[in-house]
């Protein structure tokens, strides 16, 4: 079943084009990471999917038109848009009671079970909770809803690494199964590398990479080149080269660079690149990213 399907999705704010004719297809049971630099159009894309913003083009989420059917759609879609959007004045018990009251698919016992594992007290007001606890609470509310699609927009922004790890662990262990679909955006790419089943890069309103993680692993390879093979390696025209401790690390796209794995393996130590390395390789120079340029190809 197709959960999200978009054709020619377009959104402009004045003269700024946030989404430039995007085509998108997300199948049931996937965990898709939507990665992009600031201002790439990630949040705009999510807002369109969630029915929070009007758009041009064709978009169906679970067969519905999000802009015109947001309230019905939200029975089957959950989202955590940014951290700290829970009402600060509410008590924890009130937040639970309200969601239980309005959401036909909310399982109160399940939410209570998740909360019991945390230090959150029912009588606390949300403004009294730490940022990490607010996220835990929001996650507990969302995981207790049997939704078909869960959308997470920077769900762990500003959280320490323990909370972040715990967040994705509970998501995978206590929530995700093949009937759920998760769409996540984050800048903390390293956190989700082992969580995703699919990966999508978006830049300047366009999708620049769309592949499954299996494809990612077979297609991209990173080689720490032995110094004696450096010239031979450069002849293969890696998509990206950087220097670490005096050694060259090159990133190859086996699909488009017309090289194969065995060829590359002879040059040095081979491993699967991290998403963030591919991200810098593909988008670092283009966005004028300082870090990307500093580590760039020029030697």
């Amino acid at each position: 079943m197709t959960v999200i399907e978009a054709h020619g999705l377009r959104k402009a704010f004045g003269t700024t084009v946030a989404l430039n004719n995007i085509d998108l297809r997300v199948e049931e049971g996937r965990i898709l990471g939507l990665i992009g630099p600031n201002g790439a159009g990630k949040t705009t894309a999510l807002n369109a999917i969630l029915g929070l913003t009007p758009y041009q083009g064709e978009l169906k989420v679970l067969g519905r038109d999000p802009w015109n059917e947001r309230d019905q759609l939200m029975r089957d879609v959950c989202f955590i848009a940014d951290v700290a959007v829970l009402p600060r004045w509410a008590r924890v018990s009130q937040a639970i009671a309200y969601v239980a009251g309005v959401h036909p698919r909310f399982d109160r016992a399940k939410a209570e079970g998740f909360l019991a594992k945390t230090d959150i007290r029912h009588t606390s007001r949300i403004r009294e909770l730490s940022k990490g606890m607010v996220t835990q609470l929001h996650l507990a509310l969302v995981m207790a809803i049997d939704a078909k699609l869960l959308v997470l927009d920077e769900p762990t922004l500003g959280l320490d690494i323990l909370y972040r790890k715990q967040f994705y662990d509970s998501l995978l262990n206590d929530y995700f199964d093949r009937s759920h679909t998760i769409l996540v955006t984050t800048h903390q790419v390293e956190d989700i590398q082992n969580v995703l089943t699919d990966l999508m890069f978006i830049n300047r309103g366009r999708i620049v990479l769309d592949c499954s993680m299996d494809e990612f692993e077979s297609r991209y390879v990173e080689v720490m080149v032995h110094p004696e093979h450096l010239v031979a390696a450069r002849a293969l025209k890696a998509i990206y080269e950087r220097q670490v401790l005096g050694r060259s690390i090159m990133l190859f796209d086996l699909k488009f660079d017309h090289v194969d794995r065995s060829q590359v393996a002879r040059l040095g130590d081979v491993r699967t690149p991290s998403i963030s390395e591919l991200f810098i390789a593909m988008l670092g120079d283009e966005t004028g990213n300082q870090a990307g340029q500093a580590q760039g190809v020029a030697i």
Binding site: R75, V85, V102, H103
Partner: protein, 301 residues
Amino acid sequence: MNTQSHAMPESFGSQGIAPAALNLTRPMYWSVRRELWENRSIYIAPLAVAAVTLFGYLIASIGYAMSTTNIAQRRAALEEPYGFATALIMGAAFLVSIFYSLEALHSERRDRSILFWKSLPVSDLTTVLSKASIPLFVLPLLAFAIVVATVSIMLVLTTLVLMGSGVSIAALWKPALYQMGLMLLYHLITVHMLWYAPFYGWLLLVSAWARRATFLWAALPPVAIGGIERIAFHTSHFFDLLHYRFAGGPEAMSTSDFPLDPMMHLTPWRFLSSPGLWIGLLITAGFLAAAVRLRRYQGPI
């Protein structure tokens, strides 16, 4: 793919078995409760005013009544504050209504919680209607209940003080109950709920639209329209219209003013047949429809 596309409507269908009415009233009920959780001033303010009034009544009126031996004077001192207490509580509820309406669709955008509310299956229409119901129904009815409770306590105190002085208890209670029960409820429904509805509709619309300074945005356009009219045409129809609306329309004319006159006549037919009522309600509906539409487009500010 074929089996999957069949599975979808089925799973939606099992949801749809729940009565449609339940789907409408439950979100509405919980949304109104949510408003009461968030805005505790809705009941705290009128209750506080009632408490202060009662305290003042105990100290001043009963104290004064005890100091005089003249039964008629004593009774007057004890009965006079009923209307005053009523007016104070109603005034507090009215003020809360105004400030509530100005904040209702603004604060959720300011604190970004609109993103949370919009992540739940509650339509913008339900949300706006639940917020409109606070000044239009909840606050007038709450004010009524608090007035009845306050004046009843005053009546009990009056009865205790006057007991044994030959004043008939029935003579004390009957006019007061009539005044509170019937006249006040009538006044609340006609004036506060129906006749003032456009004011609240306007305030809610401004709170959905303005990015900041909702009070200014609510007050400036009417002042500007009236001012321009006065300068351009040397007339004041717009101000007259506002004044007529604010003064309570045809009901205010028949009911003199606070304190409610126990001898006045109820004229519901005259009220219901006044075009101003229906035009006002139409305008209210327009304001609320615009607020619903705005909320759909609005995100955090």
